[in-house]
């Protein structure tokens, strides 16, 4: 009885605060905008979706968002894997210290940390001042309001979400396995691809999902660090909602984004369960 209640509680929570709002958003996306309270009709049509697909701007923005998020995910993986590997191979005491350092930034508000990057990457900010002083450049570089700045912000913010699951799967791995592969004739890099990588794959998949999903809809980082021309889907969503006050179209944008995210997650999950079947 208690067991069932315990299991039911989170499901009820999800039903109430995820599925119900989702149904509302879906309903609004099928409506038409009007002036008034609420700012939409109670009609049902697919016009908003038709509009999304007819205007190339939206398609380009979706693709750009996917591309930026994918690049940020790969960058996080490239940076995070060696870091997670290094931490997993440290002594017990060093390990907890290093993990602590990875988690430490969360103690400061996300917004403040993004603002800090603005201070660093400003034309007269810390990075430019240092480079000017050192004589590497003779006029300030444009760092802020570029795609570069957005990548810096994304990678900086989401790296811990990549490192932690990677660490969890690497830490569990028996080092003897790598030595066994070498003993049986695999060079160091061969042993990595034969043993370490496949065993770290659950961590890689989890880390990539944890970075990719929030990165694709990220609003604050591109808004604060990106240029006006770097239009991403989170920004479009915000503008449709608050600037144009077109709730139905904003809802349609959100629904398409959700579908866009569901596809890779389902694919990965199927891949992972097949992987587990093979292991089992």
């Amino acid at each position: 009885m208690w067991k069932k209640a315990l299991i039911a509680a989170p499901y009820l929570w999800l039903l109430l605060f995820f599925l119900a709002p989702f149904a509302i958003v879906l309903k609004i996306s099928l409506a038409e905008p009007v002036f008034g309270q609420p700012p939409y009709t109670h009609t049902v049509s697919l016009e908003n979706f038709a509009f999304l697909f007819s205007d190339k701007l939206y398609a380009i923005t979706y693709l750009r968002s996917v591309f930026m998020a994918a690049c940020a995910t790969l960058l996080c993986l490239a940076l995070g894997f060696p870091m997670a590997y290094g931490i997993a191979r440290c002594g017990r005491a060093t390990r907890s210290l290093l993990l602590m350092l990875i988690i430490l930034p969360f103690w400061i508000s996300f917004l403040l940390r993004v603002y800090a990057w603005m201070g660093l990457m400003n034309n007269y900010g810390t990075i430019n001042s240092l480079l000017l002083w050192a004589g590497v450049i003779d006029q300030p570089m444009q760092l802020m309001y570029t795609d570069f700045a957005v990548f810096v912000g994304l990678v900086y913010s989401y790296l811990p979400f990549m490192i932690l699951p990677l660490y969890a799967s690497l830490e569990r791995m028996d080092l003897d396995l790598v030595e066994a592969a070498q003993d049986l004739g695999a060079s160091g890099s061969r042993a990595f691809w034969d043993v370490t990588w496949p065993l770290a794959r659950p961590g890689v998949i989890a880390g990539c999902l944890l970075v990719f999903i929030p990165a694709i809809g990220e609003y604050v980082i591109p808004y604060l660090l990106g240029g006006p021309e770097s239009l991403l889907i989170g920004r479009v969503l915000f503008d449709e909602f608050f600037v144009n006050r077109d709730w139905p179209l904003a809802s349609a944008v959100a629904i398409v984004l959700l579908l866009l995210l569901v596809v890779p997650i389902v694919l990965l999950q199927r891949y992972q369960s097949r992987d587990q079947e093979n292991t089992a």
Binding site: A180, G185, A280
Partner: protein, 363 residues
């Protein structure tokens, strides 16, 4: 061929600490050689140097006439069975066993044939497509063994091969290992902390302590004639009596021991002088226990009382207190069945042993 593995002056330092300290060793082809020692004695480091996972600080290792000191593990004709077995969890039994040959780019047909041979050797034919987590500990160990043997290594290294198995399985595996070794003629080097494992498995044993070999010999030599106190105490239990050399005679060294209260005769090849302080050692199972004084004159007889006793089924253990307060351990076979105990606490008894049973121990 003699001197198949030749280790000369090998040392391994970790910082200031010498894990292996200037060790020499030769192992013959086809030997089942055991390196025996407590944890931290350097045995695992020595094994890892043979496998190529550690580079010696100094010294050389030759295998079959080739200097392999600086060869990486994947170039050596040496394979290892890890203590954890290190069976790849994401590969089937078959793929695990084939791994070594795959890395050699052996043709597929040849791989299939040799995998079949190995599966038969370790009796895992019905488990070929299973994943390691569907196997028992003993089966996983046999996968590890087959995987290490499939490349037909010149030397097979085994790190605590029986440590993770329960007692029944240990005994069976022990004999299986010996049979396989006999069948394939591969030289086995076993590292273990378990003296029983070393004694039953191996043709020769090296007892290691503090990064050095304390004694190298056959199990019998090591048990019956331990070179020093460490070896004597590490292998089995032993009673020692401090004493002073009274005379060096043909039949042995006469030692007067106040602890024993009598003059003892001990065998030993060591050079000793009259008056020197030495120790005489006797194994518990070499001592007889009786209520009456034994009649023979050659034997050493000492009187004492039963301090403690323990019944182990096949044998009984006694702790006998001598007049000097010295406790002597005696182990005696329970040949006859009897419901009543032969001895009770505080019984007066005589312990005796043949003069030739005692050996001289120097530090």
């Amino acid at each position: 061929m003699k001197d198949f593995i030749r280790i000369r002056g090998i040392s391994k330092h970790f910082g200031d600490f010498a894990a292996v300290d200037n060790v020499d060793l030769t192992i013959e082809k086809g030997e089942l050689f055991a390196i025996l020692g407590g944890s931290g004695c350097g045995k695992t480091t020595l094994l890892r140097m043979l496998a190529g996972f550690e580079t010696p600080t100094s010294g050389t290792i030759e295998i079959d006439g080739v200097d392999v000191t600086n060869q990486p593990p994947y170039e050596r004709h040496v394979n290892m069975m890890f203590q954890s077995y290190a069976v790849f969890p994401h590969m089937s039994v078959e793929k695990n066993i084939a791994y070594g040959l795959r890395k050699e780019r052996t043709p597929g047909k040849e791989i299939a044939k040799r995998v079949d041979e190995m599966l038969e050797l370790v009796q895992l034919g019905n488990f070929r497509s299973r994943k390691p987590d569907q196997l028992s500990g003993g089966q996983r160990q046999r996968v590890a063994l087959a995987r290490a043997l499939i490349k037909r290594p010149k030397v097979l290294l085994l790190d605590e091969p029986l440590a993770a198995l329960d007692k029944k399985l240990r005994e069976r595996t022990q004999f299986e290992l010996m049979n396989i070794q006999d069948e394939l003629g591969v030289t086995f080097v076993v590292v273990t902390h378990d003296q029983e494992e070393a004694m039953t498995l191996s043709t020769r044993i090296a007892v290691m302590d503090n990064g050095r070999f304390q004694q190298i010999g056959t199990p019998k030599e090591i048990y019956e004639f331990p070179a020093n106190r460490f070896v004597a105490e590490f292998i089995g239990t032993i009673n020692t009596f401090k004493g002073r050399v009274a005379a060096v005679a043909d039949e042995g060294i006469k030692v007067y021991s106040t602890e024993a209260g009598v003059t003892l005769t001990a065998l030993g090849k060591q050079l000793v002088e009259e008056g020197q302080e030495i120790e005489v050692a006797v194994r518990p199972e070499k001592i007889f226990i009786s209520k009456e004084k034994p009649e023979s004159d050659d034997d050493v007889c000492i009187e004492g009382v039963v301090d403690d006793l323990g019944y182990l089924g096949n044998r009984s253990l006694y702790r006998i207190r001598l007049e000097s307060g010295k406790i002597v351990q005696v182990s005696s076979q329970n040949r006859r069945r009897s419901i009543t105990r032969f001895l009770e606490w505080e019984d007066k008894v005589w312990i005796s042993w043949r003069a030739g049973s005692a050996v001289v121990l120097l530090d």
